[in-house]
Symmetry: C2
Amino acid sequence: MEYRFAARMSVMKPSSIREMLKLTERPEVISFAGGLPAPELFPVEDIRIAAERTLQEFGSKALQYGVSEGIAPLREKIAEEMLSRGVECGRDDILITTGSQQAIDLVGKVFLNSGDCIFTENPTYLAAIQSFQCFQADFVPIPTDDQGIIPEKFDETAGHRHAKFVYMIPNFQNPTGRTMPIERRKKLYEIAVKRNLVIIEDDPYGRLRYRGTHIPPIKSFDRTGHVLYISTFSKTVSPGFRTGWIVAPKEIRDRLIITKQAADLHTSSLDQLILERYLRDFDNRSHVEKVREAYGERYVAMNAALKEHMGANWSWTHPEGGMFLWVKGPQGIDTKNLFSRAIAHNVAFVPGADFFPDGGGINYMRLNFSNSTIPTIREGISRLAEICAKEYAETMTNEGKI
Amino acid sequence: MEYRFAARMSVMKPSSIREMLKLTERPEVISFAGGLPAPELFPVEDIRIAAERTLQEFGSKALQYGVSEGIAPLREKIAEEMLSRGVECGRDDILITTGSQQAIDLVGKVFLNSGDCIFTENPTYLAAIQSFQCFQADFVPIPTDDQGIIPEKFDETAGHRHAKFVYMIPNFQNPTGRTMPIERRKKLYEIAVKRNLVIIEDDPYGRLRYRGTHIPPIKSFDRTGHVLYISTFSKTVSPGFRTGWIVAPKEIRDRLIITKQAADLHTSSLDQLILERYLRDFDNRSHVEKVREAYGERYVAMNAALKEHMGANWSWTHPEGGMFLWVKGPQGIDTKNLFSRAIAHNVAFVPGADFFPDGGGINYMRLNFSNSTIPTIREGISRLAEICAKEYAETMTNEGKI
């Protein structure tokens, strides 16, 4: 039969990352493409014990339906965690979500009518683009520099366009790895207040800082209810749990809970209880310390290998934390072509274009350094650099520049 | 600040069930309100062992990101399960969802534009109403009799209104407990094909039949790609896992996967693996047998207590499986008023009105029998009957009939 789908399906295309990741699954491929944490660092044994204790102690309670806002003891643990990040809130300000991806989806549901305008960084997180596309948002990317969204551009754009919210990732942004300094955060918050605009602050990587000092989230300045803060246990414990959260003003949280209920009733009771038990019985702080250290070493290795092998007309960011760096190729390079060539030589990355809501960015690529060992990073970057050089030479030849 | 929410939020109100369930949480309340399975029957020990084995065997793999469609071995187990229900399908026809509630939500996303018409049973599952309201569907309830949707009414309505799909629960429907006989299923399928209409067949309770014989799902007749079939492990293993599935034609499944990815990336890896391991290592068939038997006894007890205590002007359904029965009060009774009185006397149910997408049904109530022991059922129904008698007497007095 001929199906009649919703209009949103015409903009929701299969993510090219998704399709590409399939190509990168061959074991001989060195992949810098995915956004995966290092599985060898997961606290498997601690979680095994936490799972054992949860099922012993709670029994059938761990397997029953739960409340949509999430179990209270885990929300309490999250409130403590928020305090350590600089945000004072109580457990009733928190909604637990099925990963931070669901938090993004619920924000879209609560705020967006078809055609509503939203502001984003440019480039921004691919799966947030997909999620907001689902609500047929009209993306207005705000120009960014090395410190994130440029305040003057933000103020100017917000002055002549009404947006439902501005979405940003202030720490070790995906895909660029960039971080907003505190002054920039304060300025953006002030502009949001002046323009009466909600800020969606997505912070999955904040605790993965391997250099420099912690910068308080924008949410920590919020006395006016302008900021929604999203985070997750995916990078600090394990992504398999699909457990994230939102901190939101009551009026918004009440609506998020209703949409959460319609979306999946609640997040897995068992996962929430295991996580809570793990956080209670084990030393997550030391665990994150170990992860940070490893990612820092991997970043250093990747940066060194890029320096050693890449041509002078290639540049990249120098993130102080997180999982990605962002490479800019010379004008004329199309990293989608480069990808096909790379995959044939068993190395992979994500072409940058998909991260730009308004197109462009064809000469960029995102490299993940959290999910490869140092020898693999060295070997992979050496392969990649060779391919980049070839691609560049051919591009120049084709354009008649050589 | 003043928030500007999406238009959908004006129809998405907090579920009254949700609000009421809070009132029923006091330990002295006998609650027939929730839709909870019996936790004392959960296979806790088997799941504890399955969790242990999963984390021992898979280690970090159980905690890493996974694919949006769900892990292949679990999809294979589901395909076997589908075959035993009478539906031939392969693992690639299946998408694993975060509970069957998410399956409903994704169906809404894939099909519904604001204002699109959908057909439903009348009454129908409350959380499906909420989910489709989120996409601003225009509900057209089709009249039902004791066998579900009336084919003539369905054909007639489908003849003059275009709907995106018809949503139905053929087995032990929520809230009525009614089941469609096989002839009715076939007729509805034929009409759907004739009218080029998608059927969403929601089957959470199909395996909970304690009387009579299994009736094949509508999906088992589907040779034309008109039927999407939704089910869940919530009633046959445990709802805490939030793991359900959809069987859908490829063209629809591809789109469901894209929206699933934008909604929560994928369902908990750990939960999926534990479930797969539990199904592989333990005897789920015997477990479900035990559940069925217990629910059958509870139904018999509730039916007997209703017969003993309720006045002659109250009637109820006699489901052959599932978790609910549906009580009709005499004209003039408003079960929302009755609810306040009941809760004051420490017994609870769900007023029927919320299950009717177009209003009405104020003299109905839904009673859950799966989550109470037999002595509790006896005591609760005796209390409830007393309150019903009082409410009826007062209603008649107020209306001047006595």
